[in-house]
Symmetry: C2
Subunit: 341 residues, 2 copies
DNA sequence: GATTTTTTGATTTACGTACCTCAAATTCGC
DNA sequence: GCGAATTTGAGGTACGTAAATCAAAAAATC
């Protein structure tokens, strides 16, 4: 049978109370005694029964998610995943709270984080805007012992406990590689289409993209990036403009939202002259475009995975346990029409 | 607060004992009383705390994994993931047992499954060989109320509870699409390189690959598939042979194991004449080859994810709860050198 | 060596559910 | 309306761990 704390106590020749002190890192145990207990744990292969422990603790973990009130498909999906997770979380003694803040609004985000800090939750997750005041308040939370996870968009390494999102430089590089290879034997420039280059993720994607194009496809002309501000109408205009200026436009890498507009613009072109299009985030619209050969690849981050991973990481941080590293790496999914989920 | 059995008892105006009788389907409760309790459960939204219930029952879930004693990197990795999961499982009142069977040996697999059935575990997972006797015994297990998950390789839909693995037809299609597009502007035939076409997964990958090549790249010649039997030396010979017969060999899609041999053969060619190579499973060898531009893409299934998913599915089946569908879908990962984990 | 401080032991209660026993109340059959 | 059968109640113990209290023992300090 699986050993219990009682077996550890007996084996180490100490009392249950001492075992408890060691296991839960409480003070008041001599180093030698602590070691005796640890040896017993190792010798018997004791593993704490988490179900029993949580039952005994009667603890309810409260985690707060701060999400931007953005209306693009990805953010709507992300919000949905958090809500779904919140429903399931109750069964595992967790309570998730969702707080909305205006998008791209640093003071509002900072204010929300400060308000959250006062409530002293067991963990906080938020879609970061990489600005000094945000970093500062995040650091304050971490210093106060509240685990902080950045979701989708990161801060500097030092400002948070964990980042649940993709490596955007790698995503940009991947897009560059696919674009370059898919365009073999076809001339013409490539247009990088951003949401806003003020946003760190977008800058990183562009950097990665530009780097690969320079390294491996140096002969290919890369146009100056344009910013669609995640707005479909504006994006549609920008793409139309680029197409009229560059009749031989061969490729588009879109790494912001507002792809509905991009697809509308592409749709109008005859199939023969359509550029290779690679964009981010699998939504109903981009999926349909992929299926009907309007676009060529979608890079995706799995919002559901990001949310579940965030919760696991926060929980582990809250009770000092470890996570399975590989499980918490957020993949850069590449979808062609053939491997759609 | 979450309602407990006590709340149910109070709300229904019955004793704890009666609530217990109803919840656990014991006899000795009048229909009217039973209904009152059920109404209370519905009204309060009671959900049994499985952790507490299992603690009380002293139940330990025993899940058995049957793995082929294969020495290729993928199977070694899979075995490692199961072992790692087994270590973690103890903390959650689960005991994983690993049973080895000779690879590609139907009678041995059937015998192992039958032996397992006698032990009546709470769930069984195994790497299937799609043969009638295997289907039959799997169906018998399911009929006996033991959840059965096929891992990596599937049986027919009707023979098991769940399949934790990738869609191999889709994987083949994806490989076809990548091969076709990467080869634009380059002439020459493509070689499909199998482990064994006796194995269902490999047949499916080939079917998907051939379908896409026919649909979209009809002008490209596809050579007759060769079988490397997952053996590096033999694979190396086969590739060498193909290269000497077809001096203009433009692409290779390898969907079996033994890729070490393939890579050795490729390595000897001057960079200029190297075919586009797409293969399966990310290992140390294939990763190195990808980084050094010897191969062009790796399709991968995440063994760790497959194992963790299997355990979640078995657990849910064992206690009649539901899983998050999206979480249990095994992705076809596409790795280029730029998005390696 | 007496005093203070630190460490350890013994014991208890609690978490939410399962499962057992025994007695009391209710219903049923005739 | 009686005895018998069925249903219900009340209460307890158990699972493995957490966390608390209070007393006892050991170690450190002067």
């Amino acid at each position: 049978m699986k050993p219990t704390v009682h077996d550890i106590a007996a084996h180490a020749g100490v009392s249950l109370a001492t075992v408890d002190r060691v296991l839960n890192g409480r003070s008041g145990v001599r180093a030698v005694t602590r070691q005796r207990v640890e040896e017993a744990v190792a010798a018997l292969g004791f593993v704490r029964d988490m179900a029993a422990a949580n039952l005994a603790k009667g603890r309810v973990y409260t985690f707060t998610f701060i999400l931007p009130a953005n209306d693009n498909s990805f953010m709507i999906g992300l919000r949905g995943e958090v809500a779904a997770a919140a429903r399931r979380a109750a069964a595992e003694r967790m309570a998730l709270r969702i707080i909305d803040v205006p998008a791209f609004d640093v003071p509002a985000l900072v204010a929300a984080l400060e308000a959250v800090a006062d409530a002293r939750p067991d963990g906080v997750a938020f879609v970061a805007i990489d600005a000094p005041p945000v970093r500062a308040v995040a650091q304050r939370l971490v210093a106060a012992g509240i685990p902080v996870v950045t979701l989708v968009s990161d801060l500097g390494e030092a400002s948070r406990t964990h980042y649940a999102g993709i490596d955007n430089i790698a995503a940009g590089r991947t897009a560059g590689m696919l674009t370059g290879r898919f365009l073999q034997g076809r001339a013409g420039p490539v247009l990088p289409l951003s949401g806003s280059l003020m946003v760190r993720d977008h800058r990183e994607r562009l950097d990665g993209f530009a780097a690969v194009m320079a390294e491996r496809f140096a002969e290919r002309a890369i146009l100056a990036p344009v910013e669609g501000r995640d707005d479909p109408a504006r994006t549609e205009d920008l793409v139309g403009e680029a197409l009229s200026i560059h009749g031989d436009l061969a490729g588009i890498y879109s790494f912001g939202a507002g792809n509905r507009g991009l697809i509308r613009a592409i749709e109008r072109l005859p199939a023969k002259t359509r550029p290779v299009v690679i964009l981010h985030e699998l939504t109903d619209v981009t999926r349909a475009a992929l299926v009907s050969d309007l676009i060529d690849a979608v890079l995706n981050q799995d919002a559901g995975h990001e949310v579940r991973s965030t919760i696991r990481v926060l929980k582990a941080a809250a009770d000092g346990s470890t996570v399975v590293e590989a499980q918490e790496r957020i993949r850069i999914d590449i979808f062609l029409k053939d491997n759609l989920p």
